[in-house]
């Protein structure tokens, strides 16, 4: 999907601050019109990467190309104002000395658009973000969510080649954050601007993105569509960062992978790993495990018996901890609110080998 020419290409990108390597040998192609998130914990290098794309930071290794032209290289970079991008900041960075209209019109003025056109385009854009009525307000008279909409309008009205968003929702309260996620996706569906979105919130990334690049310690661990990231994590970090999971360590010999208390054919696992013996680790989501009161009829599934040792009710689900009879294996299990087990009760769990993902 990502062509060599159209779109944004980060090649062997690296950035050092002193001896600290914030970003290491990062490769990522983002296609024209694609929405990609950089997701990771704080300090993983995602914001540094975004600011390199924007041109605020120069890379110390590698290049950033847009539509085949080099924007950034260690030898020097095109300044941000000449990149034809726009950026939305964590602090919104709405200029308090200008009205909503003036904020949104600013980029068009810099592009010397005739003022009649500016008026028309700005008004249309403010309608899109549902701020048409508030064009003459000053930012101090707006709520956080409204300011965020102005920031969105201001960034999109210039039809940028690339739209960059730096944790734009982290200062909003929970309800508004949820609403704005969909708003951002809706804007993308409408304008199809190539977008890079930085966040540490996995659900934000999942709602908005075509693909998510999960970053850790300056590297990309995995780039995939949200569903694939969840159901087919490639590394231990991705599996634990996206949602919750159980890691089971076992050994592999021939066609069989053996774990504490059960064994499955390697061919039945979700992903095929390279042949050979040795250690193997799989990830099983708590949602992929079914809880039963009696031994279920097993057809190609793994069935284990034991008891519930801990539980917590979270509203939408029950979180149980299940331990096998001999105590050698302990699993987190999610169940629907109606599935009530007391702590200490005997229970059976059923695992589908097709939802066991071998990870690195």
């Amino acid at each position: 999907m990502a062509g060599q020419i159209a779109g944004l290409a980060l090649k062997n990108l690296g950035r050092k601050f002193g001896s600290f390597e914030a970003v290491k040998d990062l490769n990522l192609d983002i296609g024209q019109g694609e929405f990609v998130s950089l997701l990771g914990p704080s300090g993983c290098g995602k914001t540094t990467t975004l600011r390199m794309i924007a041109g605020f930071i120069d890379p110390t290794a590698g290049t950033i190309d847009l539509d085949g032209k080099t924007l950034s290289a260690p030898s020097g970079s095109i300044p941000p104002e000449k990149r034809g991008m726009s950026m939305i900041f964590q602090s919104y960075a709405i200029w308090p000395n200008m009205t909503v209209f003036e904020n949104v019109a600013f980029g068009l003025k810099l592009r010397k658009v005739p003022s009649a056109d500016i008026k028309c385009q700005v008004q249309a854009m403010l309608e899109v973000v549902r701020m048409g009525e508030l064009a003459d307000r000053y930012p101090s008279e707006l709520s956080g969510g409204q300011q965020q909409r102005v920031a969105l309008a201001r960034a999109i009205v210039i039809k940028p080649a690339v739209l960059l968003l730096d944790e734009p929702l982290s200062n909003l309260d929970a309800n508004l954050r949820e609403e704005m996620r969909f708003e951002i996706r809706r804007m993308h569906d409408e304008f199809r601007i190539t977008t890079v979105y930085v966040t540490h919130d996995q659900s934000e990334a999942m709602v908005t993105s075509d693909r998510i690049a999960v970053m850790n310690k300056g590297r990309i661990e995995q780039v995939d569509a949200p569903y694939m990231l969840y159901s087919r994590p490639k590394t231990r970090f991705v599996a634990s960062f996206i949602g919750r999971t159980n890691f089971l360590d076992g050994t592999r010999s021939g066609d069989t992978a053996s774990f504490s208390g059960f064994a499955v054919p390697v061919a039945a696992l979700a992903e095929q790993t390279a042949a050979g013996g040795g250690a193997i680790t799989i990830s099983v989501r708590p949602q992929a495990i079914q809880l039963h009161r009696a031994k279920p009829a097993a057809t190609g599934r793994v069935v284990l018996d034991g008891r519930i040792t801990e539980r917590a009710f979270l509203g939408e689900t029950w979180d149980y901890v299940f331990a096998t009879r001999d105590g050698s294996l302990s699993l987190k299990v999610a169940a629907s609110p109606a599935t009530v087990f007391e702590v200490g009760t005997e229970a059976w769990v059923e695992l589908d080998p097709a939802q066991m993902v071998p990870i690195v």
Partner: protein, 583 residues
């Protein structure tokens, strides 16, 4: 998407080669750095270098010599002045602490009534220059005609003089009433920043209110008190106006007076004065270093943190006792001398008291319409103050922007130079400027330029502190947003940073203008016959004993400055003064 493609097209990117054209990257910023550095060298480094160099030069020939130091410390009287100064400074600090700390505590942490009045009195202290308050106290407590002595005789029939301002105690008292507000401001903000939860934790562990105050609250604010005490010490040993009016009649020589004697001789003993001022410079630098150490030693983050919730101490009936103390301090440090000054300004003869027969507008008429030197002095003081404030704040904002945004490498060096005049007492700065720019080729002595330049240098640290705080308050993303939309740095400064800094600009300007329009120490050696300032004229008039005219001139200055401050409050908001102590 075409607009975007155009913009990228102008970016001089070379297709796919992995290199970016030099032209797209060029920013002529090093030139700006060199220009700024040259300005700062002219304002700060050159005068200071000249001061030190000339202290080792033989008069006339310029040959190297140590004779200046020998002369400066040859007479016991000269050495005595040095010791006297230190003794006076210590006494002033002690008395200022007695004035300021209880007031700061009462205003920050208790339900004392009239806290607004205290704030007002402090503002008054900021506006009224020390030399006018000293005049007020001469009128109040002069040994013969002073109001207090006359009132005592009238009331008791006893002809003994009960007070005399022309003594060591009088000198210390007048000094302390003029410098204590600095300690107040520092201590007050420290009290405000102490989190009540820290005191609560001590309480809940079993400490009573007294123990909590002694073991928790005061240790937390101690660095602020010590730091401000050091600064107050430095300000008082460098202050010229009060000693000039009081210490000479009190026969208590101090450094600044001795310096002016070297300068007053003909021919001017510039080299000796320079040598004599070096210890003052060294003491200042050493003590400021110590202050840094005191403030930095322990990580009292709670003192610098955001104002946390504070519980107010309910004083009960004691609140009136504390209130009375506050009002007495305000009365003796500000209200009494100012009232006397205004009364004298409206009197035919100030010693005749407040009677209708003694009332006149004549003094004001004389100053405004007849006394051409006074008229000129008022415009000169305001003009020089305004010019210095304008240049200093613009220069400081430029440098603060460059430093804060890391536009240029070695910005720290520029910031250091901006703050450096802080260690130079005004009178020493004046000697440096005289040494550097009075002789040819510049020969600036006697003109307005040398005054303005010296004042710029004097107030550059204040300007820089206010500017740096203002720029720090503007989120860098505000500018990055401009740049990401296609505007350069200059566009960002013009449309965003500039408009947002208006308040800082104006508030900082006021913070410099007010003291600059009253400045005496820096001016005393630099004024010429055509560039008299109000401050210098006040001193001259007091020597001639024309207290009624002097009082009228002082009142005019006070009224003008008060109006400027009032306008400042209207425009810049009430808090512009608080940034003063951010250094």
């Amino acid at each position: 998407m075409t607009a975007a493609a155009d913009v990228v097209g102008t970016g001089n990117a070379t297709a796919g080669s992995g290199r970016v054209s030099r032209l797209a990257m060029f920013q002529p910023v090093m030139l700006v750095w060199l220009v700024l550095a040259a300005i700062l060298v002219f304002l700060i480094v050159a005068p200071m270098e000249e001061l030190v160099v000339s202290s080792f030069e033989q008069e006339g020939t310029g040959a190297f010599t140590l004779d200046n130091y020998a002369t400066a410390y040859s007479k016991p009287r000269y050495v005595q002045a040095l010791w006297n100064t230190l003794k006076m400074g210590a006494a002033v600090v002690a008395l200022a602490l007695v004035f300021a700390v209880p007031l700061a505590w009462a205003c920050a942490r208790t339900d004392m009534p009239g806290r607004g009045l205290v704030r007002l009195a402090l503002l008054g202290s900021f506006i009224s220059p020390p030399y006018l308050s000293a005049i007020g106290w001469i009128l109040l407590a002069g040994p013969n005609a002073g109001w207090i002595n006359k009132a005592w005789t009238w009331l008791s029939g006893d002809p003994t003089r009960i007070v005399n301002v022309f003594t060591f105690e009088g000198l210390v008292f007048v000094m302390a009433s003029n410098v204590f507000f600095l300690i107040y401001i520092f201590t007050y903000s420290a009290f405000e920043m102490v989190n009540s939860e820290m005191e609560d934790s001590a309480n809940i562990l079993g400490a009573g209110p007294m123990r909590t105050a002694m073991r928790v609250t005061f240790p937390l604010i101690m660095p602020s008190i010590l730091g401000s005490a050091i600064i107050t010490f430095l300000i008082s040993i460098a202050l010229y106006g009060v000693p000039a009016l009081i210490s000479i009649p009190a026969r208590y020589p101090v450094i600044v007076i001795q310096l002016s004697e070297f300068f007053g001789n003909t021919p001017i003993q510039l080299e000796v004065a320079a040598a004599y001022s070096i210890p003052l410079l060294l003491i200042t630098a050493a003590l400021l270093g110590l202050q840094r150490l005191v403030l930095a030693r322990r990580g009292y983050t709670s003192v610098t943190g955001k104002g946390a919730e504070r519980r107010i101490v309910k004083l009960g009936a004691w609140r009136w006792v504390v209130f009375a103390y506050a009002m007495i301090v305000a009365a003796i440090t500000l209200v009494m001398p100012m009232v006397v000054l205004f009364a004298a300004a409206f009197s035919k003869i100030w010693t005749s008291g407040l009677t209708w027969a003694n009332f006149t507008f004549g003094n004001f008429y004389h100053i405004i319409f007849e006394h051409s030197t006074a008229q000129k002095a008022i415009t000169t003081s305001l003009g020089v103050g305004a010019a210095a404030a304008s240049v200093a704040i613009v220069l400081a904002l430029g440098i603060a922007y460059i430093v804060q945004r890391r536009v240029l490498p070695f910005g720290g060096a520029l910031a250091f130079l901006c703050m450096a005049p802080f260690v130079v007492p005004g009178i020493v700065l004046a000697i440096g400027f005289f040494a550097a720019y009075a002789p040819p080729p510049l020969a600036l002595y006697g003109g307005f330029t040398i005054l303005i330049l010296a004042f710029i240098t004097r107030f550059l640290p204040v300007a820089y502190t206010a500017s740096a705080a203002g720029i720090k308050a503007i989120h860098p993303e505000m500018e990055e947003a401009v740049r990401s939309l296609g505007g350069g740095r200059l566009t960002a400064i013009r449309y965003v940073v500039g408009p947002l800094l208006k308040r800082t600009l104006f508030g900082g300007w006021l913070l410099i203008f007010i003291p600059a329009a009253q400045e005496l120490s820096t001016a005393i050696f630099l004024v010429g016959p055509k560039t008299r300032l109000v401050s210098v004229l006040v001193l001259d008039m007091s020597e001639e004993g024309r207290y009624e005219h002097l009082a009228a001139l002082g009142c005019i200055l006070l009224v003008i400055l008060s109006l400027v401050v009032w306008a400042g409050f209207k425009i810049a908001g009430r808090d512009f003064m608080l940034k003063r102590d951010a250094a």
